[in-house]
Symmetry: C2
Subunit: 400 residues, 2 copies
Amino acid sequence: MTGPLNGIRVLDLTSMISGPIATMMLGDQGADVIKVEPLTGDLVRGLRADGAGGLSAMFISSNRSKRSLALNLKDPEGLELLKRLIPTTDVLVQNFRPGAIERMGLGEDTVRALRRDIVYVSISGYGETGPYAHKRVYDPMIQALSGLTSIQADAATGRPKMVRVIVPDKLTAVTAAQAITAALFARERTGKGQHIKLAMLDTMVAFLWPEAMTGYTFVGREVHTSRSQLTQDLIYETVDGYITVGAVSDTEWKALCRALDKSEWLEDERFKTLGDRSRNIKDRLDLTADTLKGNTSEYWLARLDAESVPCAPVLSRAEAIEHEQIRANELIRELEHPVVGTIRQPRPAARFDETPSDIQRHAPSLGEHTEEILRQELNLDSDEIEKLRSGGTILVWERL
Amino acid sequence: MTGPLNGIRVLDLTSMISGPIATMMLGDQGADVIKVEPLTGDLVRGLRADGAGGLSAMFISSNRSKRSLALNLKDPEGLELLKRLIPTTDVLVQNFRPGAIERMGLGEDTVRALRRDIVYVSISGYGETGPYAHKRVYDPMIQALSGLTSIQADAATGRPKMVRVIVPDKLTAVTAAQAITAALFARERTGKGQHIKLAMLDTMVAFLWPEAMTGYTFVGREVHTSRSQLTQDLIYETVDGYITVGAVSDTEWKALCRALDKSEWLEDERFKTLGDRSRNIKDRLDLTADTLKGNTSEYWLARLDAESVPCAPVLSRAEAIEHEQIRANELIRELEHPVVGTIRQPRPAARFDETPSDIQRHAPSLGEHTEEILRQELNLDSDEIEKLRSGGTILVWERL
């Protein structure tokens, strides 16, 4: 395997989304990620009936570049096998509800006794203490509590609305991957491991802050009215679809007027300066919208491009993956998965020239690597493996 | 300074959002981040008139934990000063449009000649080659091109809609911070620096993929209908506000029926299994909504909590920052900023027990550290600094 994290081993006890996508990023970057699953498998394997053999699309796209070890941790023998893997492990990640990992017998002290400098990572929904700490959590609860759904409220009715992408879950994954990587860097210099704690709620609020919480940044000068909820967004209808156009600076505004053949706007008192255009945003966007309605997307995009006005077509998902720029970036790969056939996956977004990061392995079937790991890492033989299997301690995947 | 990245120096040539938030994360984690600004300052300093002295709320929340060096890089003397800082620099980050950094005389080869093992980072909007590479870009263009606005389309009209948080910009920041940290880790082991390239467009599409692109994961079995666009979301109106409730598993569904006092739903053929409940989602959500309309948020949340049904109040931003769980997490800090007074900032989301990461410095005024850096790092004396200042090569901030 290649990648900046080559040589690092991760024991991944997480399930669902926030943990698995974090460790997938580490796996894509070359870490040896062992996904430890109960014998029933990660719930996401069968969450939608769109895949085959416990390989839903969502599972595949959250668990590539990992090996699967199916192990019953409620069985003392299973727990013991896991403990024997810890001395060769650099990072252990878990996202059980607070307190659960200690009850399983894998609390930080136990784990650190087996590997002194391990990076031990606890991802929670709400935090490890406080009134919500022990509540069940899904992505929508974090959207609601963080203020995101009120930011997204319907302009006409004021009804709060969800973002239809599980931003809190996946953002927590990326944030966790960064923190884990930082702890690994620090360990190289200090020789010390540590415990990282990360809550989805904290991650989402901190992420919102820079521009969405500007009204709450200056204490005593809070601005409660959300301008963004009252104005239309930058999507404009054309004769045959939608485009987005944004002209901020004076240069861009003048270019927009040229592209739209509206030299009279240049003389309009409402739009003279950046401040004027900001105050009269509704008039400005309404006039722009009225004009853009008069021709096709292709016509306007060509004119706007010619004047260097920031603009883009509004694409459906199907159009996005076929778009000429996404093709030029070689972002979407078609790969053969041994069970489900040809799949599409995006390569990791960040490209490294010395230690290329890439999709390292197909998403595993449940227990696909149980035997390999027990043999290679713990030196078990066929008889021992068969005994564990028939006793219900492990699950060994067998291709049908 | 403390933090996992203590000892690392970052030269930050970025402006706007995607670059500055990436380096702020590194700064919060202990890196010495030198924000190199033109004498006119980062545009975000004055983007909204809500701050003072070039310290808008958005600037403050994207540029803490950094020092500001105001330097005219178009002046050969300014460029030379920057070059003299490179030998002590570990990471150089830039987000100019492709080709611009080479024209400025700071292309990778030039920089690497001054520091062999530097991590050189190029953040772009669309990518460095391809038909869109040289176009101007703001966050809305990436939302439109990536498919995000079509995912967010209005359920009734089908009109694409923006997410009102600049997710592509800020997500690119977190993704860049992770990649930079991974390259620093690799450098510790290999001794080699490298060039990281990251496009906002790639970052957004890769982020959407796991659950939002499931319909395009299996080649030849594409599912173009977006179910999510046709169903309501999980926000329910109560007598006095809104709450969110999500019951997925059988256990959670039974608990929901108890909390809502609807034992008859348990016998309803439409809701027997997870599959039944998924097929009859509209009926299920409509019935739930009708019931929840009948009482207050507090009443329902208490009942749902008592049965361990995942639920949460829908909060405004003002309510979120005062919420008991966010208080328990000690997420929001009140700090004194020397120019603008008391401000609120979220601490970094990830908590490290050995190398605590935290807000290390207030967001700087333009050129606040010009003199300090030139004296300490380049050993310039007062006369030399005054000459550079009066000659328009540097800007030195003076507190009024």
